[in-house]
């Protein structure tokens, strides 16, 4: 026969038990949701080689051409102006940091660059009517440090600086997303970490290590390839019938056998 205090204790224990179960279920749900929206680094969304994306390819080539000027700013910072002058200092100091600290430093350093919107360009249609075109232009790191840039330029500048610090090309992508918070297209950098987690460097926020909520991924690129993340996209290789193997993008899936 149970006493009143035993009944009371039992009901309290049961309450704690059910509350714990409820919290655990909620947390698990949140975790699953954020994992669902993780940037799909390992999905076969490769569209084509980077050189097919002409505006991006031109930026990559221009960046190569400006490598000497950037290197000069590292060795003789006094000869360079503004952000270009501090660039050498940041790169030098970053080389003494661990990977996580390097990401934090580059994220903060680039976010502190002055903002400069894309120039509006015009073109003429078949009836010779002047039309305004708002296309994104991809700036090189040198041009960005010299003149500042807008959203996508912050992402590309971080990409180039991380490459300078020795981050592998296969671990980095500039990703264009549709931001459901900003209601517009927005560029971020996706970084694959050694444990295969994906970190997002978004100029609007601190580094996103776990939750990637608020993005719809549109496309991505690095020096090798372009990826198309739109829902209706079927990779050219997925369309190919037969044994033709898709070109390897040097991406290892988590838990894949080597």
């Amino acid at each position: 026969m149970r006493t009143f205090s035993q009944d009371h204790l039992l009901s309290d224990t049961a309450r704690v038990f059910w509350v714990t179960i409820a919290i655990a279920t909620m947390l698990n749900g949140c975790q699953s949701h954020s994992q669902l929206n993780q940037y799909p680094f390992f999905e076969p969304h490769r569209l084509t080689d980077a050189e097919q994306f002409s505006s991006w390819w031109n930026t990559l080539n221009k960046h190569q051409e400006q490598a000497e000027a950037l290197s000069r700013c590292q060795t003789k910072p006094a000869d360079c102006q503004g952000k270009l002058r501090s660039y050498g200092h940041v790169i030098k100091e970053a080389k003494n940091l661990n990977r996580t600290e390097q990401l934090e430093l580059i994220h903060h350093y680039i976010n502190g660059t002055k903002y400069d919107e894309d120039r509006v360009t015009h073109h003429y249609d078949q009836e010779s009517n002047k039309k305004q075109v708002n296309r994104s232009s991809w700036k090189t790191l040198y041009d960005f440090l010299l003149n500042g840039g807008d959203c996508e330029d912050y992402a590309t500048a971080k990409y180039f600086m991380l490459r300078e610090l020795g981050f592998a090309n296969s671990d980095l992508r500039v990703v264009v997303t549709y931001s459901t918070k900003l209601f517009g297209y927005h560029a971020v950098v996706a970084v694959r970490q050694p444990d295969n987690s994906i970190w997002l460097l978004d100029s609007e926020y601190p580094i996103k290590k776990n939750s990637h909520m608020g993005y719809r991924y549109v496309y991505a690129m690095n020096e090798q390839a372009v990826w198309d993340h739109r829902d209706d996209f079927v990779s050219p290789t997925q369309q190919t019938i037969g044994n033709k193997q898709h070109e390897n993008t040097n991406i290892e899936r988590p838990n894949s056998s080597n």
Binding site: Q52, V90, N111, N134, S136, F233, G242
Partner: protein, 81 residues
């Protein structure tokens, strides 16, 4: 029987000669169109959240020094004026 063998030969020949190049052509057209549509996307221009201090004091020190260097050059320019 002859008709059956002939049909099988025709199917095999057309598959051997046509399949791969046709598929590749369709795929490359799709890629071209996809790249075109990607290039037309205007990425939103938004001001980043600047000047938030880093949590790590070591990183913050590097950033402070970087800002000092950037200011130094503007001071040089002021002196030249």
């Amino acid at each position: 029987m002859k008709i059956l063998i002939l049909s099988a030969l025709i199917v095999a020949t057309s598959y051997a000669f046509a399949s791969e190049s046709d598929v590749v052509q369709v795929a490359s057209l799709t890629v071209k169109e996809r790249i075109q549509s990607i290039e037309e996307i205007n990425v939103t221009a938004r001001n980043p959240s600047i000047d938030k201090p880093a949590n790590n004091p070591r990183i913050e020190n590097i950033l402070v020094e970087a800002r000092r260097l950037e200011k130094e050059i503007s001071d040089d320019r002021n002196l030249r004026k």
